[in-house]
């Protein structure tokens, strides 16, 4: 029997936020009835879970003019043919940073201690789009423009020692 999500009955477009995206085709959420978190916790050792997830950060260009917004895409993929849940240290499931400053901000984040988990379906890839506006927040109410030079954009799952666990990636851009 053909399912509705296998048909072309729905108009799909990744660019239009008001239409279902093409990626939704591969992961019909309504069909998922298993408690991914519990199963993953019971059957799959935590260190292997980190290994099964890959993270990639990319920008469309390497060089940007001062004052230009830098768009970047964070892609995460579960290589395993079964669902995986990665416990995170807070409800913020993944983070990005510029030169080590979380969300390009020098203002310390109020720590939220409640742990959570980033869940992946079997073979699922997730894509998150963000823009760095080329500014750093230097206090609660002030921002400053980044000067010319090289900047590294990092992104990763919000776990302790994300780099060592392989769930973090970075890319370098230049502002002229």
């Amino acid at each position: 029997m053909r399912r509705i999500y296998e048909s072309d009955a729905l108009d799909r477009d990744d660019e239009d936020p008001f239409r279902p995206g093409a990626s939704d085709r591969e992961k019909p959420r309504a069909a998922r009835t298993l408690p991914v978190g519990t199963l993953s916790e019971t059957l799959f050792p935590r260190r292997l879970r980190h290994r099964s997830i890959s993270v990639d950060v990319s920008t469309p260009r390497d060089v940007y003019e001062a004052g230009e917004t830098v768009p970047f895409v964070v892609t995460m993929k579960n290589a395993m043919p079964f669902p995986v849940s990665v416990p995170t240290v807070s409800p913020v499931l993944w983070t990005w940073a510029v030169d080590g400053h979380r969300e390009a901000s020098h203002v310390p984040e109020i720590p939220t201690q409640e742990p959570s988990a980033l869940e992946f379906g079997r073979g699922e890839w997730k894509e998150f789009r963000r823009n760095w506006n080329g500014m750093f927040q230097v206090s609660e109410s002030e921002w400053t423009r980044a000067g010319p030079g090289e900047y590294t954009i990092h992104a990763g799952v919000n776990v302790e020692s994300a780099s060592a666990k392989g769930v973090r990636d970075e890319t370098t851009i230049e502002i002229r």
Partner: protein
Amino acid sequence: MAMLEVEDLNVRFYTENGVVKATNDLSYEVEAGERFGVVGESGAGKSVTSLAVMRLIDEPGVIESGEIRFKGRNLLELDDEEMRELRGNEIAMIFQDAETALNPAYTVGEQISEAVRHHLDMDEAAARERAIEMLESVGIPDPGQRYSNYPHEFSGGMQQRAVIAMALSCDPDLIIADEPTTALDVTIEAQILSLLKQIVEEYDTAIQLITHDLGVVAEFCDRVMVMYAGHPVEMAPVEDVYYDPQHPYTVGLMSSIPRIGDDRDRLQTIPGRMPDLIEMPPGCNFHPRCPYAEESCIRREPALVDVVTGEPADVSDHDAQTAACLEHTGGLSEPLDYEVWVQDGSRAGPDPVESIDGGTVDE
């Protein structure tokens, strides 16, 4: 001490895509018997603010910090049982979507009398009588018969009125009305607003009215808070906001009100749209849409200040006009060169010149 005091309220929604900052350091007060309006575009945080007061924010939403004091008690410290006693009894809410607010499996009358029995400790017959009385007061014809109808037997407008009857049934001290008249036609809207006005006057009930309809605010409210991207951008007595708006966003909202007899081909709008609450613009959140934005607006976030003194806003001063724009702290190099035209002549405004989009702001 005001009846409702909201202080530095921060509500966050932790989603997979990022953290949605729904309200940011939001502070305001509502006095007993006051009609307080909350306006702004969709996504400004109006409904979230109300749900936070009722402690009805659901996962993945969290009230991260702040205080909500009702008659001096911090609602965020009450347990679920205490909160249930308060909801519907002392604080009632009129939801914007009546069809989902009503339970389809119970009759409308039973849903009203259940609240009455629970909170007012009435027996079944008295509660039924009270429910019928409330249905009548909101203009439901033949309320005795209608008491036994199910929600699907009511029209959309009648469902909305039933929800209003339910909110009024226990004589609450504070009613939070989230777009209560959006689904109603203008004649019923006028009746409902006059009913709410009557309740405020008779029982000293306070109303926090959330609406898109600036006409309703002008007609009904004593004070108004304009919200943008989870921040209050202007708060003042309603006359001051309408006749002398002090934030470019408020001016934009006023300019976009369609007027009868206007010969323009197109309605005036505020260019652009509300920012993504996950990825807020730096500085003033309104700067990407503001025709008066300067470099300083990108670098500095304006605080809510008294527009006369430039001092940080004191939310307990209910006569003050406060706005969050660098103009009021001397942070702009050019003045905001809009002016307001008042066409009905009931109150003199400054000399008319161009408003935010080259149009005029008037009443």
